[in-house]
Every structure is written in structure tokens, then in C-alpha cells.
Symmetry: C2
Subunit: 253 residues, 2 copies
DNA sequence: CGATTCGTTGACATGCTTCAAACTTCGTGG
DNA sequence: CCACGAAGTTTGAAGCATGTCAACGAATCG
């Protein structure tokens, strides 16, 4: 099997954001008079380097230009819990404590190019609405993870995970059918609350069923529909409004 | 068994917030010239009434004065996923989409008194820092839930859940050893990703081990230490800083 | 007072973890 | 460039924790 692999490398302009309806990064990058400043804030990290660690002072957030980022927590016993993965176009680093300390750590999964945006900068430009959107997106992601962990079995979690990756790649202009996993089985298991062996076995079984092809980090999705079916339940996008009135009773004292 | 039960009812002043170091509610309530306005915004809901539903337009957030609230999502197949419970002093309703729609539903678990704060009001008073704190707290809670679902077994989840309730009650001036569960076994299971039967069985076993006494909604914790030990791992409060330097490499183009 | 919801308990099935081993790939230093 | 060890991936076997199904008693509600 030889898949036409699409990697995230060498994307040097933020047009990756355009298909998403103009993300924060695009808006900031296109604002007049600041391009030069931002270009100086561009950084490249090699695989396995931390962008920031839990507890550090937070004075900036980031946008992925190319590569990928793993967000994770460390528990008391030294185990890690992966909270999510950030792909090109994703914004991260806005989830800080009230004292502006990092609530999680962020590490590169491969050679990664980032843009760094100082927090103060955001306040100056009154990008409140954008900040709101990023925060809302982050919460939606967290809720989705909770839903997966609480209600789905291994098959459902893996299928949803792959489907989510495919969707995100598509929305950024990459192939949704063939891509390279930048994270290890370990990371996937740690994200989905599964043992590595379960991740591996499930992928193998999916392959045997003809849903996808997988070889190490290379993934080719053959049957998106079935994959989504296996993924099953997800957050209801439409309000569960059955026509009933709001029941909140008001009592003035 | 007859426990001295402490309920949340009849708390009519927000001094419940004081022990927490002055919460948003206390600050807003104590601000000059607005008390009257807020008092008019006080509402009482009976058990099982929605404060808001997923998808509705969001124009206000709330603080629990007495009673308790369940926050939840509805999945495509009509199942619900509980995201959390709010006790007296807790702020909720700030987690909205970028279009100011509710991301989750909120329903009362018992007769509940709330204060309603219009969003516009928050902006006017420049309570940005407080809003930041609430959002950060919300994210911490979400992360904790993810951690529980991904890494803890049934015993650990139940123990952590009870320990968390105890801690929150203590910080609000209630007894941390004896309290009344306002949520059903169903709700607890739906929150922790467990079947009702598992919740029931686990509580029974904890009682047999002498860790606690439980009778329906009445809970008395006999051995906090063991409960915490069972709860096991939690988010590491201290940064995992092993003295290593920040590894982010900067490259100016 | 009957109907319904809630909580408990038992028996059984099973999906996932754990343990173990082998193979492959990767990185590093000789 | 090769050799070696470390790390990542896969596969198998066995054990067990949790879900499912079923039944019953207790509390609650109208």
C-alpha cells in the first residue's frame, strides 16, 4: 500500500485559515501595520519540544502554521492525560488560570511552525469577539471529549477520532481520506482513555472490515459513511426544543 | 441511621461566597446602587424546571443562591450527558457559543433560588477579570471530568465525586461530612459515565468498608482520608517543572 | 391508595485491560 | 555506514471490571 500522503509541513502563509471563514490568525495577520511584528514572532520547533508547560506564566497564545501540537495534563502520579491535538490553523494557549498561568502543557508532535501572539496584543486590538469564539470552540471540544469518554466504546471513540481528524483536515484544504497521524498510538490511547493495545487492535479490525487502510502512521479512510456510523452519537447541534415554554418562574421579593 | 442533614435551602444572602475569597456574585451584589436591580432579578424555580436549554439565546448568566443545578447535553439519540452540578455560590451560564447561544442545558434538581445577571451588565461593569476566573474554573472542572472518565475506575470516580462535593460544601460553610445528594443515581451515573447499578453497588461497597454511610440521598462520610486515597490521581496543582529550560526555539525569518 | 419513579441486588455476558512476546522502526554512537 | 539499544507497534491469551437484563422493595406523587 502506498498512499499519497499529505503532510502539514511547509505551509507558510495563513491562507489555511481562509476556508474556515476567516479565523483569528488570518484577521490578525492581515491587520495593517502588524505583519512585520508577527513575522518576527514566527517560531519553529522540532519534534518533542514544549511550547509551554503547565503552571508557567502565560503571556501569549499561538496559532499552528504547520505541524501539530499535543495538549496534555500531568496527574499526581506522573501519568499524562491528552486533552487534544492542534492542527494547522488551530489556535491554542488561551486556556489559562485566573492568574494567567498555563492550565495544560503543549508539546510538538513533529517539526512545527507557530505564530506567537502576546496576550496584551489581543486586548489592544479589541478582538474580544474572536477570543470568545476560540474559547467557545475549546469548550465544545472539551464537551465532545467528555461525551466520547462517557458514552462511547472503543470502536466509537476511534471512529469519531478519525472522523474528526478527517473533517478538520478537509476544512483546511487537505485530503480527508488520506493523512499521516502525527501522534503515536500511545497518545491516541491517552486521549481516548484506551490502552495502546486496544487502539492498535481496533485499527486492525477496522482495516479487516474494509473501512480503512492503516500502516503505522499512514491512514487512508475507505468508507467515511461507515466510520461515521460507528462513531455514532455526537453532540446534538440543533437545540432540543420540543416547543415547550421556558419554565423558569420569576418571583420578586 | 439518622444524620444531621444540611440542606441548601433558605440561604438568602450571598455571604456564601465570602469564604471563597469574594466571588463574582458577592462583588456584584455588594456594588453600590445595583442591589435593588439584582433583587428584582432573583428567581425561584421548583424541582425539574429548566433555567435554559441548549441552543437558546443567551443574554444572562446565573449564580446559585440555594438549591442545585444540573448542567447537561443531549446527544443525537436523545441520551443525556451530565456535564456538572452547581451548588450555592456557583456561577453558571457563561459557556455560550460565539453567537451567544447556550452550549448546554441547565435544570434544577430541587427548589432553587437564583440570581440572574444580564450579560450586558457584566460588560458595563468591566468585570473582565472575574469573567476570566469563572471561565478558567469551568475549564478546570471540565478537565477534571475528562481525567476522571479517562483514567479512573468506578471506585475512583465515585470517590472523587463525593470528595469533590464534600470539599465544595465545606468551602461554602456547610458540613463536608454529612450532606444530602440532590441528584439521582441516574444523574451521577450519567455524569461519571457509569451505569446506575454500578453507582449503587459501589456506594453499598463503600459503606460495607466503613468509608461512609449512605441511605438513599443521605450521605455521611466517615473516612475522608480513605475516600481521597480511593479517588487517587487528580490534576497536578504544581507545575511539572523539572528545572529544564523552555525548549521553544525561535527562528526569525 | 394505586401508579410510577427510584434504588438495590443478583446472575450473566462481554469488552477492555493487563501481561507477555515478537517484530519493526528509529536514534545514537561507534 | 553499520550496530546496537530503545521505543513504537502488533498480536495472543487470560482475567476482571463493568454493562446488561431481570426482579424486587421502597419512596414519592397525584
Amino acid at each position: 500500500m502506498k498512499i499519497e500522503l499529505q503532510t502539514c509541513h511547509m505551509v507558510h502563509e495563513c491562507h489555511i485559515c481562509e476556508p474556515r471563514g476567516g479565523c483569528l490568525g488570518a484577521q490578525l495577520l492581515n491587520s495593517p501595520g502588524i505583519s512585520e511584528h508577527l513575522k518576527q514572532a514566527r517560531r519553529i520547533s522540532r519534534k518533542g519540544e514544549h511550547v509551554f508547560r503547565e503552571g508557567e506564566a502565560a503571556d501569549a497564545f499561538f496559532i499552528v502554521r504547520s505541524g501539530s501540537i499535543k495538549s496534555y495534563l500531568v496527574t499526581e502520579d506522573g501519568e499524562e492525560q491528552v486533552l487534544g491535538f492542534y492542527l494547522p490553523g488551530d489556535v491554542f494557549g488561551l486556556d489559562n488560570t485566573e492568574y494567567q498561568q498555563r492550565m495544560s502543557s503543549a508539546i510538538t508532535l513533529e517539526t512545527t511552525s507557530l505564530c506567537r501572539f502576546p496576550h496584551a496584543y489581543l486586548a489592544d486590538k479589541a478582538q474580544g469577539a474572536n477570543l470568545l469564539r476560540i474559547t467557545a470552540e475549546q469548550m465544545q471540544r472539551d464537551h465532545n471529549l467528555v461525551l466520547m469518554l462517557a458514552r462511547k466504546d472503543a470502536d466509537g471513540r476511534i471512529a469519531s477520532f478519525l472522523d474528526d481528524l478527517a473533517t478538520r483536515y478537509r476544512s483546511r484544504g487537505y485530503s480527508a481520506s488520506a493523512f499521516l497521524l502525527s501522534m503515536s498510538r500511545q497518545d491516541i490511547g491517552c486521549y481516548l482513555g484506551l490502552a495502546v493495545e486496544t487502539v492498535s487492535r481496533t485499527l486492525t479490525r477496522f482495516q479487516e472490515c474494509g473501512v480503512l487502510k492503516v500502516n503505522r502512521r499512514e491512514v487512508e479512510i475507505l468508507d467515511h459513511e461507515t466510520l461515521q456510523k460507528i462513531g455514532g452519537i455526537r453532540i446534538n447541534s440543533k437545540p432540543a426544543n420540543d416547543g415547550s415554554v421556558v419554565e423558569l418562574r420569576s418571583v420578586t421579593r
